[in-house]
């Protein structure tokens, strides 16, 4: 990918990497509850702590 970007003229690009982006909808009573559930999901399934880090943002949406 880095080579392709360079071939397109973006010569000053470095350290290109691909990560994972997951999006999910969750019903919760509060931001705190949502955060706790997301933490648990990330820990138990969505990430592998041996090789991955994770971060997340919460956004409230209308049902």
């Amino acid at each position: 990918m880095e080579n392709s970007l360079k071939a397109l003229g973006f010569g000053n690009v470095h350290r290109v990497r691909v990560g994972k982006y997951l999006e999910l909808f969750l019903e919760a009573e509060s931001q705190e509850e949502a955060a706790a559930r997301v933490e648990e999901m990330a820990r138990r399934l969505l990430s592998n702590p041996v090789i991955e880090d994770y971060e997340y943002t919460l956004q409230e949406v209308k049902p």
């Binding site: 138990r44 399934l45 592998n48 041996v50 090789i51």
Partner: protein
Amino acid sequence: MKFGVIVFPGSNCALDSYHLVRDVLHEKVEYIRYDQKHLDGFDVIILPGGFTYGDYLRSGALAARTPVMEAVAGFAAAGGLVLGICNGFQVLAEAGLLPGALCRNDSLQFRCRQVLVRVENSSLPVTKRTAEGRVLKMPVAHGDGSYYAPPELLKELENRGQVIFRYVDAEGKVTAKANPNGSVDNIAGVANRHGNVVGMMPHPERAGEKALGSTDGLALFESMIDFCRGREVPGNA
């Protein structure tokens, strides 16, 4: 004694292990569904290769959270023998039953060819019939086989004899060229702390008959049979 071969949605090497145990070694073997909750009556559990759940999220990640894996964890904690081959290794690592993780091959390409691995610890139930330093020929067929463990964990694994196979060249030397996937320190297989749970990327079940180009994988299965026979109460077998 009896072998069990777990079949997850997307397992595609279950038949290879089943065939080897039943038709070559003439031992009892049964398939076990991924939603089964008990493993009573089995002596050895094999997690076969394949692409469980289409490798979604991470290879082995979804299979590691199926009901049968809780039973496997209990079986392993009670001292039962568990062997994960290829995707089965990925499942065991994802389930936390083996240390480390399997990442994308450093070539970013699927690797399907014969490899040579050197036995690093021949004192385990799965390697007793081999010898330290012996080189075994088996095939690999995987895209996510690059073993990784952080440096401090690697040192521990090394000290405790948990590294059991390494990719080597024909002279038995660890070289970058002999490493098909970029695994750290050429690691091809590891064991848990007690040595009863083992994972490996190469396929010993596809190296059990002359027609397949190698019979070097047989020793691993025969070692497990010896171990289980030795554990059986005389007259009760």
